[in-house]
Symmetry: C2
Subunit: 442 residues, 2 copies
Amino acid sequence: MSPYSAPTAPRPPLRVALAGIGVVGGGVVRLLEANRELIARRAGRPIEIVAVSARDRHKDRGVDLSRYRWEDDMDAIVAADDVDVVVEMIGGADGSALTLARHALGAGKALVTANKAMIAHHGLDLARLAEQKDTPLKYEAAVAGGIPVIKAIREGASANEIARVYGILNGTCNYILTQMERNGASFADALAAAQAEGYAEADPTFDVDGIDAAHKLSILAALCFGTQLDIGAVTADGIRGLIAADIREAEALGHRVRLIGMAERDRENGGGLYQHVQPCLVPADHPLAYVPGALNAVVAEGNFVGRLFFEGAGAGAGPTASAIVADIIDIARDEYGPAFAMPVDALDAAPAADAGARVGKHYVRLIVEDRIGVLAEIATAMRDAGVSIESLIQRGSEDGDGVVIVLVTHEGPASAIHAALDVLGASDHVVGAPMHMPILAL
Amino acid sequence: MSPYSAPTAPRPPLRVALAGIGVVGGGVVRLLEANRELIARRAGRPIEIVAVSARDRHKDRGVDLSRYRWEDDMDAIVAADDVDVVVEMIGGADGSALTLARHALGAGKALVTANKAMIAHHGLDLARLAEQKDTPLKYEAAVAGGIPVIKAIREGASANEIARVYGILNGTCNYILTQMERNGASFADALAAAQAEGYAEADPTFDVDGIDAAHKLSILAALCFGTQLDIGAVTADGIRGLIAADIREAEALGHRVRLIGMAERDRENGGGLYQHVQPCLVPADHPLAYVPGALNAVVAEGNFVGRLFFEGAGAGAGPTASAIVADIIDIARDEYGPAFAMPVDALDAAPAADAGARVGKHYVRLIVEDRIGVLAEIATAMRDAGVSIESLIQRGSEDGDGVVIVLVTHEGPASAIHAALDVLGASDHVVGAPMHMPILAL
């Protein structure tokens, strides 16, 4: 099919079935209706919704679905001869989303999904199935919502060896952190505000513990490094352990706290892959320090292009629909290829790097009892673990709950910090769990 | 050709000829050599340089070209049977670059170019020729260097109606402006520093007068709005008129000065297209305010995705080569389509919008003689033109060269500002040309 054939020989519409009509599904319906004409111009052919399927037909979704064929049984859209593309918006790593995805690809339909959990856990199997059936599998909306970062890395930065990829992959956490920044709020209060604004779920575990960001990071890592997607190798520390003082002290040190998912090849130690989500101190002259509210942002560092930075809305009906429909337009244009940029069998295995061997500067915060000898105990634990201290601040107790001690280390392996904090965390004089964050290296 | 055919049936190498081996050409050679294996994995086939051509064979380019066939005559690479892709890096809107581009496309070769001037002036003709010959025309490197912004807009944001596209499209100007910001330098001193650092040419006209940014803007506008590329409709004011006080006063107003190219549909007045390059005041809470040094950045605002922001290196051998080779990889993957996202005949004509009708707040700076009545003269000229003043600051003379008066207007049409400044510019009491800049609306 020539990409230029559109004007002389109009191509038939691309026929789409939507499975799972929640907030995002409603956005896709609205987008395909509102931008119908311009999409047809850009795609070289109309894109038509031919069927919709969801659990509850009678739920009010704020969009008129009556003009589309309703299928109670999702397998009916897979079996339908008039469906070219199945859009999976059910969610969840397994269950009916995965069943639908397998059935759709197995039937030779194109599959578009926003489901980061499913891609993180089953992306390789699905990509292999897509290859066998010679049909597209696309998932732009699964990472960083509306930001076309899958495309930017898969295609835009394709000429580069990527040194590392990292970013703010969870808007809920970023919203909470910027609330804490602006208002001096506690984590609990900022979380409550995020819940009130609809940025956080009633059960925020998935977001605030870094699980959602871990899913996205595993996908970015596979694309950047040409490695087999391996969600089991991604570790995550969330933001629950942060207190208002951490944000304040970070600011005093010229930094901001961001939940950063980072993947990097450990070239010095056998090329293992480091994939970790954790709060970090981001220097004020790094663009990630200026990403506000619920936005997402991704940085990719290439050996020729240097640092690329992408920012935009990471969630929400409109941005997610934008990414889903971009995938559909790529399919309509026949501009697509292997889901992970190369065939699954060409992806490298990537053993996990030793996260403890990772060298950097760290921020450490402890709350200690206000008594003689505690500072010596800290200094001793650090010395015994081989941690070299660059600076230390002890703030007088504000509310009687203990004294806050903040220190910044010289460059050293993370394992040394962990060893020191294991000792200090067990001390009777240290209140609660010590907090530590790496300082993002430029 | 199935996108998945690579592993079972290896595809033949894609054979590339490079025309014009300067800084960028050297970068492309180095990139294709350094990242050879990973490019072959990602592209599904090797990418091989089979011929190079430039004016002077014996110039030292810092890369070893001896392993490649040398052609003194550029038409020889067009005629060669073993060339699939011609990469044009000669530069210049016309002349041998354009001749080569026409011959290459006419011969059915794929054309990759970094030449913004040529695309801005002849992009439609070249795209039409590419369509006729059913061969790719790609130009990612022509806008914002290494940032994959052509792809991000053409494909990543393809589902959206774009309200406006704007950004920092010239790294030289941004370098000069950030020098002025940091050091309080004059334009002349900052320009000299940029020249010393290699960020500005000996004759900086092309950069500092906004011509280079205008070329890029015209390309972005065509892609965003589905309109016929029309460089003649782009107007440009450069940064020569800025003085140190402008940067300082902008900062005092909570803004930074950036040279912004912006394209926007004037929906209220017939849908004409506004395309203008000029220095603007960017609010401190807009990400463009934090783009430092010679970087570029582009913002696209979509009706579903919201604001997308892309930042990276806008020039230089490595970033430009990254974009050029990304285009080559797209061609190797058969993932490409019409150069301007749709066939040339499907692009709309777009009459120029009336720039004077554009409503916004403005910054105005005048240098006046320190004498009675001047302030009244300014206020009268503004009142007579219908310009409403929000704030006005008069700074005492620093060096005897006159008094600096800075005012910020309420929202109003640009034509009113122009009328007032025409009057004041002709006044005997106003020193030099008045400066005015729009304040970027969020």
